[in-house]
Amino acid sequence: MAVMKFLCDTKRCIECNGCVTACKNENDSALEWGIQRRRVVTINDGEPGEASISVACMHCTDAPCQAVCPADCFYRTEDGIVLHNKDTCIGCGYCLYACPFGAPQFPQKTAFGSRGKMDKCTFCAGGPEETHSDAERQKYGSNRIAEGKLPMCAELCATKALLAGDAGIVSSIYRDRIAARGNPGAIWGYTPQTGA
């Protein structure tokens, strides 16, 4: 049992959008036109204090999308990954309103301009269909977790800014980095008070 999390190290992210491309390529079979599961946002672009963050579904422990969904199509895997069943999804869009991170995506080009089935980051863990089946590939994209691999976005991050994996391991890697850098305040909102 793990609790899978993403963490983006803002001191390392260089806004190359490699994670976005890696995600689109890896999950291409499931992504309809206009859908982009991951995006990079740069705060204070071109100014002192510039910081870039790669963001997708954060796989919340208490996920608002799951709470608001009238079809109750969301579920959490034993790895703490929030997935959804596209066969149950009715395309109402409530998850998009509820999600603080703008993770849920909807196909833009459906009949009469209505919403299609919701699509979002699966942590490269596929969906409720049989693992590595055609149906899973067509609806949800890759299932790297079942192969013992981490999400493609994090694996392909050139600067290793985007970390994915068990929360404990991710945070210990990050803690080591902070210690090595010795730069207080590098963690958002946290300034270590120990040391010289």
């Binding site: 959008n17 976005v20 206009g34 982009q36 995006r39 990079v40 946002v41 740069t42 705060i43 204070n44 672009d45 100014e47 002192p48 204090g49 910081a51 963050i53 963001v55 608002p64 709470a67 608001v68 969904c69 009238p70 079809a71 109750d72 069943n85 066969d87 149950t88 009715i90 395309g91 109402c92 869009g93 409530y94 998009l96 309103y97 509820a98 999600c99 603080p100 991170f101 703008g102 995506q105 909807f106 833009q108 301009g113 209505s114 919403r115 305040g185 590098a186 963690i187 958002w188 909102g189 946290y190 300034t191």
Partner: protein
């Protein structure tokens, strides 16, 4: 109005109205919400140099630059939708369940304790024209579309609590998808019927002084105590019907506009507007559904002879005299009274 915090908006609107007794708690909550969301000007200035304050700015909804396309793609965090979710799940969903079961049960109890409102002189057998064919068609167009929306809407709002646990995944998926699709397509029919009904019937629905007296004796429907046998004055529409009309007019407007906002993704509304529309849609539905249940109870079982009006367009003469005396007197006087052949 600061639209950034639905929680604050909700406490401003609802707490004073409903929970005056816990007003102190309400104010306490709004204060906490403000403290969590707001940034001081110093913190905003620091956001360029202090990581802590930058993070605080991001949490408060600051936007940046992104190559991603889409509404608000440049915003990292927007908690308003989640506040709306909490309001919906903690207040509106239970309120809807209470509105449906509670109002129905209350009327059932009232019916068994009080009994129906009988015609004091029985049926005369002479039928008086009350509604034209156009009125009947409009009424049933609105009634059928409204009932369709209520049933499918209840599946959408309460189905995951009352139905999903008891059926298989496949059945649930089919029910909710069909429900949502019907809800989307019947909506426009209801809107058309709503507009026509409001425009056509509004002239008969203005409040008059005698309507106040109608309320004082609860419309004469109570069969015991000091209210027994009272038949208050009433024109073509009685005060209760007028209240129903104006409720459906006002909340029908809310529900139509918010429904359009929810059903058309091409509008590309920001999350604040979409979530507000969702909450307004649900709140209006609660009120309309509660009133609809009352309306159906009144027409079918409580008021003897009442259902005839909407079946044939004609009502019994004694029913007209007892329930709409001023209207009856008026049409009798000016000669527009028309009997059924």
């Amino acid at each position: 109005m600061n639209f950034k915090s639905l929680g604050r908006l909700f406490s401003v609107l609802v707490f004073p109205l409903v929970l005056t007794s816990v007003l102190v708690t309400g104010l306490g909550m709004s204060a906490t919400v403000s403290a969590a969301d707001g940034q001081t000007s110093q913190q905003m200035a620091n956001a360029k140099t202090s990581d802590a304050d930058l993070w605080r700015a991001v949490k408060a909804g600051d936007s940046g630059f992104t190559t991603a396309q889409g509404v608000e793609a440049n915003v990292l965090i927007n908690v308003v939708g989640n506040q709306g979710t909490i309001i919906k799940n903690e207040y509106l969903t239970p309120a809807m369940a209470v509105a449906v079961l509670g109002v129905f049960a209350a009327f059932l109890v009232f019916y068994f304790v009080n009994g129906p409102s009988k015609l004091s002189n029985g049926f005369s057998g002479k039928m008086v024209l009350r509604w034209s064919k156009a009125d009947l068609i409009l009424h049933w167009m609105m009634a059928i579309s409204c009932l369709g929306l209520i049933l499918t809407g209840l599946i959408i709002m309460l189905g995951k609590h009352f139905l999903q646990p008891y059926v298989s995944d496949g059945i649930w998926a089919a029910v909710i998808l069909v429900g949502k699709t019907i809800h989307d397509w019947v909506g426009p029919i209801f809107m058309a019927a709503w507009v026509l009904c409001v425009v056509k019937w509004m002239p008969m629905q203005t409040f008059k002084m005698y309507d106040l007296k109608w309320f004082l004796v609860v419309g004469g429907y109570i069969n015991f105590g000091p209210f027994k046998g009272k038949h208050p004055d009433s024109g073509f529409a009685n005060a209760g019907e007028k209240m129903w009309f104006w409720t459906l007019t006002i909340f029908g407007l809310f529900i139509c506009v918010s429904g359009i906002m929810l059903v058309l993704p091409g509008l590309e509304l920001p999350r604040e507007a979409s979530m507000a529309a969702l909450l307004i849609h649900a709140s209006s539905a609660i009120i309309i559904i509660a009133f609809t249940i009352v309306h159906i109870w009144m027409a079918t079982v409580l008021s003897e002879g009442g259902i005839d009006c909407m079946k044939s367009g004609y009502c019994d003469e004694n029913w007209a005299v007892q329930h709409h005396n001023l209207w009856y007197d008026e049409i009798k006087e000016n000669g527009t009274l028309e009997y059924k052949d």
